[in-house]
């Protein structure tokens, strides 16, 4: 009886996330680097993805101390040109602007601890440093996977840019190297998921 309840919960949750994924793809709201991976997971019997970001370079505006008070001044899900970043900094902004390069984050759901452990194994094999099982309920296990490549610092305050153009050029070079390594890691994860999870 209890087992059936867990199974029913899993089927319901998987179905719901399948619809959300397909809707996001139709509306072009998916990060392109995640589409193939998420499509593969969606077609497996025992797994689903619930949310994710492929990793990005951005200028994040902060109006207060918490993430809730933040806004995207600009974001790129790819490498970027230093001139594009510099021009975006020249635009009128308010509050504090942070330059950020952030790694991917992905949530994979499954039905049993045994299957969650398969994801952990693939995480380790793919050299994904951060994350783990964050939800462990009957019929619903959720594994978080997070990369590590990161840059973060305040770059502008009110309308004053805090660093030289040459520094932005150097930072963008570093950020591009990191985002490329991040996408390569994501590709490796995708490959290992395809190999390690039976449909």
């Amino acid at each position: 009886m209890k087992k059936e309840k867990g199974k029913a919960r899993f089927e319901m949750v998987k179905k719901r996330h399948y619809s959300t994924l397909k809707k996001a793809e139709r509306e072009k709201k998916m990060d392109p680097q995640l589409i193939k991976l998420c499509d593969f997971i969606a077609e497996t019997k025992n797994y689903f993805t619930s949310s994710g970001c492929s990793g990005r370079i951005m200028l994040l505006g902060l109006k207060g101390k918490t993430k809730r008070d933040s806004y995207f001044h600009k974001k790129w899900h790819s490498t970027v040109k230093a001139s594009d970043v510099w021009n975006a900094l020249l635009e009128k902004t308010s509050g504090e602007i942070w330059f950020k390069e952030e790694p991917f984050i992905l949530h994979i759901g499954t039905n049993t601890l045994k299957n969650a452990k398969k994801i952990l194994k693939i995480k380790d094999k793919s050299g994904v440093k951060r994350g783990g099982i964050i939800v462990a309920k009957k019929g619903k296990f959720l594994v978080e996977l997070v990369g590590t490549e990161e840059i973060a610092f305040p770059v502008k305050r009110e309308n004053t840019i805090l660093v030289e153009k040459e520094f932005i050029e150097l930072i963008v070079k570093k950020a591009n190297e990191k985002i490329k390594r991040n996408y390569a890691r994501l590709k490796l994860l995708e490959k290992n998921l395809k190999k390690g999870l039976s449909k």
Copy 2:
């Protein structure tokens, strides 16, 4: 029989980590902000800590692309003076130096999934954003807990400091704010662990 094997493994691992912790404390190798928390965990019946860092501000030297090729030019497990950071930057260094403010990371081990889930619950209650169950074996579950406050950017290359002194002053102010929030989060986690885990 299987249950006994899991129990034996847990007792052995807990005992080993107890010795390691006490040795680190005797040799003053423990981050001071973690001592009380780890001491409490060590005295519980079902939990142990295996490793951790309370969070820090540092100047990290990079000689290659990976963390393996890095060295600490300077590190502080506390707030820091901008003049101390600036003076450290004026010292002779090699390779690339990154300014970093990193959050705490803590590993708590336990014997059953049920007890690992208690840690997850306390993690969520304490607003600790990153981490999860990273090892799930019979008799050995390991939960990783990681804070989120982070600053990271290259600040010096060979012997050229890449930013102005005023920028370092602003960055150190931000880093101090973040490290204070980080330690406050760690205190809250400690309080909730003490409340939530029976001895």
